[in-house]
Symmetry: C2
Subunit: 345 residues, 2 copies
Amino acid sequence: MFKLNLLISALALAGASLTASAVEWQSLPSKAPEPADNPSTPAKVELGKMLYHDPRLSSSGTVSCNSCHNVMGGGEDNRGGSVGVRGQVGGRSAPTVWNSAFNSVQFWDGRAPSLEAQAKGPVTNPIEMGMKSWDDVVARLKTIPGYVQAFSAAFGGKESITTDNAAKAIAAYERTLITPNSAYDKYVNGDKNAMTEQQVRGMNTFAEVGCGSCHSGPAFNGPQLPEGTGFFMKFPTYQNGYLEAQYNLSVDLGRYDVTKNEADKHLYKVPTLRNVALTAPYFHNGKVKSLEDAVKVMAKLQLNKDLTPEQTGDLVAFLNALTGEFPKQEMPRLPSYADKTFDYE
Amino acid sequence: MFKLNLLISALALAGASLTASAVEWQSLPSKAPEPADNPSTPAKVELGKMLYHDPRLSSSGTVSCNSCHNVMGGGEDNRGGSVGVRGQVGGRSAPTVWNSAFNSVQFWDGRAPSLEAQAKGPVTNPIEMGMKSWDDVVARLKTIPGYVQAFSAAFGGKESITTDNAAKAIAAYERTLITPNSAYDKYVNGDKNAMTEQQVRGMNTFAEVGCGSCHSGPAFNGPQLPEGTGFFMKFPTYQNGYLEAQYNLSVDLGRYDVTKNEADKHLYKVPTLRNVALTAPYFHNGKVKSLEDAVKVMAKLQLNKDLTPEQTGDLVAFLNALTGEFPKQEMPRLPSYADKTFDYE
């Protein structure tokens, strides 16, 4: 159905040293690419915003997409494991929804090739939003007059409330969640005063140390690949018993869980560094609580380097320059279920 | 501290029959009264909006005021019992925050004499937001630079992050949550086409049957009393073993839990009927799932009347005319904890 098989073997790049001038510094596009079968329209985005913020897409009526990917903050929940229905805690840390439109695959293990495919996952995950099936979601939405109207406006026709259309609308909304004009973007676009001296030093360190080998491209999440292609790296690349034990890095098998290929053990999607200063705790399991520690752990486990305190400080300063401008958003109105209530668990 | 003792004994009013012309029909004010010690300012409202929507005011970092009092919908969660930290379910149904500024007391049992007092409750309730103390909340807020700035802008000074100021800001935000211009308001203000014929019939029935004996005033929650004065009614007023068993109405002792006065057993604050069509399920325990059933149960248990199907339909139509206009709201930006994370449970 989707091309998920092309795994760019980027391991050879790891540990490479680059000079700042050798890195192709790119600013963030103001618009995300759209798949041919889901062009964005205002009606679709508005519907997607409603669905994204609607806790009635969960079995308990209490968990929405926004519960774990909070767009009022850094686009996630600042927790190690996210909390789903019945207080259940998930095993991986929620990635940010901001700029997720620039990921070529979704989820830490890349199991969704598109935002549309991703949107279908958590709703029926028993420890996340807990719905028994998308058929149940569709049945619920069909009883809410405001959704009948909003789906019709977005997709046309009377039978427009479908799983695919719900996912398309959510994805269209998520494609508007872009944070341009960070200090870094302004600097790259010519405003040499946009970053502090320390941030500029950190930018050079970022290239010299080798961070840019993997965290490349405008979203710092790897080369721009077609949607559905993954850019995965092994974490840890360099073994270190002490750090692996400290941060519990051996348990999760990463992409192996999806492919069952031995070579995919401990491989993860390279995450964006955009707004990384807002998204502690860090890594797939959220075990590293500060950005400073995350930088040191990355350098050691991915590049086999011990950073000086100055390098670490400079890198953290640079990563803070990747915090962008968040577009103003009006709260959606969630349409009423006509003076009745669902049988929530 | 506050005058909570004045209980208006309205029992004598119950069962009274009124004609539509005898009821004083009032439209909703566009502005809520403000206490002398907490005048609203834009900076205070903006801070209050941030706090109201910030899940970091809970022990788990997952429950905000808005989780149970969702302003994107009818101002509550459309559940019987609300869900707090660790998936715990509360015993009473969350009242709507919309137009709560027009309540003279807060909570079903009226235990808070003001919005400011109410705001302090759920945060440290172990089954709601679960914080050990407000001191812990204040300590958390002080480590978030954006809150240091926002409290200073709202209250001035360096030591402006306090429990009282947090509650004042939340209350100031809540005083902006008013829904004017319902069909009923337009009708009362002279637009005789604003309500349907059935809604006008329902308005007359509302008066004739006696609903307006308790649900009076512009917010349909009783006479306008000074903040801190409660307007309570016994529910059920007329005993009915069948309905009491069906809807489990004997367990909760209502205001008695606050005062320990025998006369206060099963007394509850008369809730607003504004936007009641959006806030199913109904009553203090959320056991009645549709507005139609709520109307019938009220007539039987409070007025000892069996409504005809026509009366019930007309009353439901009229209650739908009380759904107001919801002001557009921009989503707040929740300030970051500077690339670190809290130790959430």
